[in-house]
Each structure stands twice: as C-alpha cells, then as structure tokens.
C-alpha cells in the first residue's frame, strides 16, 4: 500500500506522505513528488545519490529536502523511487535511489517549479506522522 498521496489545490498540486516516524513521512512525501514527474512503477534502482541539508527550522527542512530532489533532477537527470532519510536537529541526511530519467521508459509528467509553504504541515496524529505541502506546477 502506498503511504503517499496527492491532494487537490485550486491551481496547483498537493502532496502528502505518511509514516510511523517523521523520517518515513519525509521519505513518502518525496515519492509523492517524484510520482508527479514519472511513473514510479517503471523506475528501477540503478544509481544512488546522497543528500545532506540543513535548515533554520523543520518547515524549511522539508522545503529544502524536496527542492533538492528537483535540483538533482535538473543537474543529474535522475528520478528516484526509494529513500532513506535521517533527521537530527534540523539537519537531514538521505540516500535517494533510482535511475536516469527517460521519458520513453518512465512517461512524461509535470515539471515541478517549486515546493511551497502553501498548506505545509508536519504533524503527528494518533501515532502517525503526516507531512504535506503544495507544489507549484
């Protein structure tokens, strides 16, 4: 079962991840983001990249984390389907696994312009972490 989903926004697109830990929810929302760009079922794990970021608070950390994936897509051309995230004191370390994006193989989705603070939430409800925000398409 997917632990991520998309939700409606009048002009753009909401993404959401769930997890037993904050880290897992951050991993899942990353999948939601990548799913807007390509069909993740068709993405294989052939390469991996390391991500290290820090931020002034948790919300900025989420924005920077997801934006880093847009950066890696533009610079390395990679799309990812598996993530291992570690968070400590507004610092995030992650491994992202996937392969080089190929529209013929993975389908052509949307270019995501930016990760925004719109409807951004990082919360824990009944032992479940929920992380969400709206992206600008």
């Amino acid at each position: 079962m997917n632990k991520y989903e998309l939700f409606s926004h009048p002009a753009d697109q909401g993404i959401r991840g769930y997890g037993e830990t904050k880290e897992e929810a951050f991993q899942e929302i990353a999948k939601a983001l990548q799913s807007l760009m390509a069909d993740l079922k068709k993405v294989e794990v052939k390469t991996e990249d390391e991500v290290k970021i820090k931020a002034i608070d948790e919300e900025s950390l989420l924005i920077n984390w997801l934006n880093e994936l847009l950066y890696l897509f533009d610079v390395k051309g990679n799309i990812y389907k598996e993530f291992k995230v570690n968070i400590k004191n507004n610092k995030l370390k992650a491994i992202a696994k996937g392969e080089e994006y190929n529209p013929k193989k993975h389908g052509s989705g949307d270019i995501i312009k930016a990760i925004t603070y719109n409807q951004l939430e990082i919360k824990k409800e009944n032992n479940l972490w929920i992380v969400q925000c709206v992206v600008d398409v």
Binding site: L6, F7, S8, H9, P10, A11, D12, Q13, G14, M37, A38, A55, I56, E59, S60, I63, N64, N67, L70, Y71, F73, D74, V75, G77, Y101, P103, G107, S108, G109, D110, I111, K113, A114, I115, T116, Y117, N118, V134, D136, V137
Partner: protein
C-alpha cells in the same frame, strides 16, 4: 448568489473590501459583479487580498484582477505597490516562483489559409525543434560565466548568439534587458540547474501556440500593431525556467529570516518579505532582475527556433515580434499618488503591465496606443491582444489581468478528462492540433478546467484598465 458582504460597490466593475483590523489599505477587486462573485467563491482569495493589505508600506489598495484565484500568500492576478520610503517591502512570494513568466507574440506575415494547408507539418516541425516537457534539454549548454552574461544582457545575449534581430529587442518590456542586475546574487545552484535548460519551453500551462486573428475590436490600434483579421500569429508562453524557480525558493527562505529580523508581522508565512531598503531586499531585486533577463533570453532563443521551423516549412513567413510582456514581476516605476509623483515597487503576480499612451516605457511605434497586453487562454479557447490605458494608471498602477484563470484543480481535471481524449476532441470539433509531450499534462490543461477568458477580457475593458484590440484563436498548440 449575492455578492459577499465583504464588498462595497465602487462602480459596476470595481468592488472594494473595506479596511478592517490590521489592513493598512482597502482591497479592490476588478470585474463585473458576476466575475467578482465567482472569484470570491473561494474565500481564500479575499483573505489573501486582506493579508496583502496588511504589509508595511503598501500604497492605495491591494488589488485583484478579474482572473484572480488563490495563490501562495499573494493571489494569482494580484497587484500591490510599495513605497520604500514608508518602510515598504518586497516579497519573493508576491512575484511568484516563475519569475518573469510572460508571453511573446510574433506576427508571421501569413494568412490562415496557407498555414492551414501546412499545419500538420508546421506543428510537427515546431514540436521537434522547440524543446518542451520534463527533462528536455536545449541546444545551448552554458558554463557559469556564460550564464552570468545572460543574466546581465538578457535577450540581447540571445540576439548576439544569432537567435534574433535588434528589432525584436525594441518590442520587449525594457528591451529584454533589466538594469540593476548582479549575477553574484544568483546562487551557483540556480545556475547549475539552468545549464541545459536555455531555450526550453517547460510544461504545465506553458505553450507555443499558432493562432489566427478572428476578430478585430479596434481597427486603428490593430493597424499600428500591424495585424488584420485572418492573420496568423504565434504566442510563446514561458518563464525563467529552473534558474528562476531556484532564485524564488532561496529568497523565500532568506526573506523568512529577514521578516523575523526586521519584525515584519506576517499575516501569512508565504508572504515572507524583506524591506526594500535592506540587504536581502536589494539582493533579491538584483537576483529577480537577473532572472527576468534570463526569461527574456529564453523566449528570444525560442523565437529563433520558431523562425528556423518556419524556414523549413513556410520560408515565405516573416516572423516579427509584436510585443513581449511579463506577468510575474516586481518593477520600480513612477506613479502619481494623491497628485504627487512617487517611485513605487509594483508587484504583479499573474498580472500584466498596461501603461497608457505617451508612457516613456513604450516603443516609439506604440506611443499613441499604450502598452500591448497579451492575455493567454487555454489550448482550446481564445487569447486576447489588448492595450494599456490612462485609466489603468489611475486605478490599478497601470496593471490588468493575465489570462483566464483556473477553475478546476489539476487533480480533478485528471479525473475528469483523459489527455488523448482532450486532444482528439479539439482536433475533431475545433480543428486544433495539439502536440503534447505529456498526456496527463494535456488533461490538466483541458479548456474546461479554466474560466471563460472572453468574460475576463470584457471585464478589464469595462473596468477601463485595458482595451481589447484583437481576439485570436488557436490553430495548433505545442505543450510540454
């Protein structure tokens, strides 16, 4: 439905949201009663206008154009002007993530019949020659120092590289080259993201469209613009690509800190701002101007590629730039306020400059008609060419609308429509050819997901903030 209690009628096309609480100025919605009722169905739009009205240094009113819908803190279709001498702010969110998203209109010198005969080949050639869609790469690869040159020179750089003529530059806002830039204010990351993206169209609502002029509203102005009924035109809609997105994202973070440092009380975290007269404010202005230049260079390269495509298929075409506008910017401009000339920073987020006749920003040829305004519709409906007015200078800081405005979310549009089906129906019912890299994108952009642009265009004219000159309708559309 009754118009909401929030509004006081100024006239049939201007509706005021009175000052309350911490609002420094009122809000003003432009449009017919029907349109403003529709726009304000989403209460978030009214809330966002009220929030903008609370920002330090705002002048006159926080304004919403008839195509307004909810945005990121600042509504899309929003206009707000700030005075630096009164503690005025600049906000990256109020400019938007796609800095200098805009539209270039080209005349082709061809009539619709000859283009219709060659439309399949033309659309296919344009689709192959103009890179679009996720992961597309341009033919130019830039290193960092070459990128810096683009950020300083703007469209001029592209002309020097052979993608256009000096005449093109005359018909771009600020001639495609903003002053007060500094490549050092744009991060290495932003430049790296842009390396392969020069001359690419993007995706989402961006497009390259072949259009026929179907109606002339004002013959005199149309003559000056050089267009007649049945002429074929091209509109190119795109922005500052990954570089602009990265600049906006990074400065939103910096402004978040700046707001705290300068004790700017933010009604919404998305309105993160910096005083114009602060280090972050000044750096953002330079970075934004650099991104505006990049966007103009990008549209200039695409203009060059479009000419190449026409040379292959219809070499008799003579592609000339009619005008190029921006609709996501903040520009330093002179405006009259209470009988006094003031220098203001005018944010237009999904709004177009519409300066009236005799403005010094205009190319000589258009001095008598005002700034051309290009408002883009959907891939199945009309777009409009309008011109700015003196009234816009008085009412809306010389601003008007930018498009149709969405009425349906992307998620819903994908459920409602099937991309292939949208493309087939446009071909069968309207004889419009759609070449799209992404079929889910085509579904998201289905004409039914947008508001009626004809009513938006009529509304801005009746409000007096721009006047219709011509209506154009799509023949073929290239999408990401």
């Amino acid at each position: 439905m009754m118009i909401k209690m929030d509004f006081e009628k100024i006239d049939n096309y201007q509706w005021k949201v009175p000052k309350e609480g911490e609002m420094r100025v009122p809000g003003i919605f432009f449009g017919s009663k029907e349109i403003v009722e529709d726009v304000s169905k989403d209460e978030k739009v009214i809330e966002q206008i009220k929030n903008v009205a609370k920002l330090p240094g705002i002048q006159k009113a926080a304004m919403a154009m008839p195509d307004a819908h909810r945005g990121y803190g600042f509504p899309i279709g929003g206009v707000a002007a700030f005075d630096s001498e009164q503690g005025g702010i600049i906000s990256a969110g109020a400019v938007g993530y796609d800095i200098s998203c805009g539209v270039r209109a080209l005349k082709t010198g061809l009539k619709k019949d000859i283009v219709r005969e060659n439309i399949e080949e033309l659309a296919e050639t344009l689709y192959n020659m103009v890179p679009a869609g996720l992961g597309s790469k341009g033919e130019i690869k830039l290193n960092i120092s070459q990128m810096d040159e683009v950020l300083i020179k703007g469209a001029e750089w592209a002309v020097e590289k052979g993608y256009g003529t000096k005449e093109d530059l005359e018909y771009i806002e600020e001639n495609g080259r903003m002053e007060n830039t500094d490549p050092k204010t744009v991060s290495k990351k932003a430049k790296e993201r842009q390396k392969k993206e020069m001359g690419t169209l993007g995706s989402g609502n961006h497009y390259l469209e072949l259009q026929k002029v179907t109606k002339i509203h004002d013959k005199g102005k149309a003559k000056i613009l050089g267009i007649e009924k049945n002429d074929v035109m091209i509109m190119i809609h795109c922005g500052s690509r990954a570089l602009g997105h990265q600049v906006a994202t990074e400065y939103t973070e910096k402004m978040k800190q700046s707001s705290r440092k300068h004790n700017i009380k933010l009604p919404d975290r998305e309105l993160a701002a910096a005083p114009i007269n602060s280090d972050t404010g000044q750096k953002y202005i330079k970075a934004m101007n650099s991104a505006i230049n990049l966007a103009a260079a990008n549209r200039q390269v695409i203009t060059g590629l479009t000419r190449r495509a026409f040379d292959q298929v219809l070499p008799e075409a003579k592609l000339k730039t009619m005008y190029e506008i921006n609709h996501n910017t903040c520009k330093k401009e002179e405006h009259m306020l209470n009988g006094e000339k003031k220098e203001l920073y005018v944010h237009r987020k999904g709004a177009t400059r519409s300066f009236g006749p005799e403005s010094k920003i205009l190319p000589k040829k258009y001095m008598k008609i005002g700034q051309p305004v290009l408002i883009g519709g959907t891939m199945g409906t009309a777009s409009y060419i309008l011109t700015g007015t003196k009234k816009a200078m008085e009412k809306s800081f010389g601003s008007t609308c930018h498009g149709a405005g969405r009425k349906m979310s992307r998620t819903k549009a994908k459920k409602e429509y099937w991309g292939q089906d949208v493309v087939k129906r446009l071909k069968n019912n309207k004889n419009i050819i759609i070449k799209a890299h992404s079929m889910s994108g085509a579904a998201e952009e289905a004409p039914g997901a947008y508001k009626d642009i004809n009513k938006v265009a009529e509304s801005v004219e009746k409000a007096g903030i721009s006047r219709r000159v011509a209506k154009v309708e799509p023949m073929a559309v290239i999408k990401g």
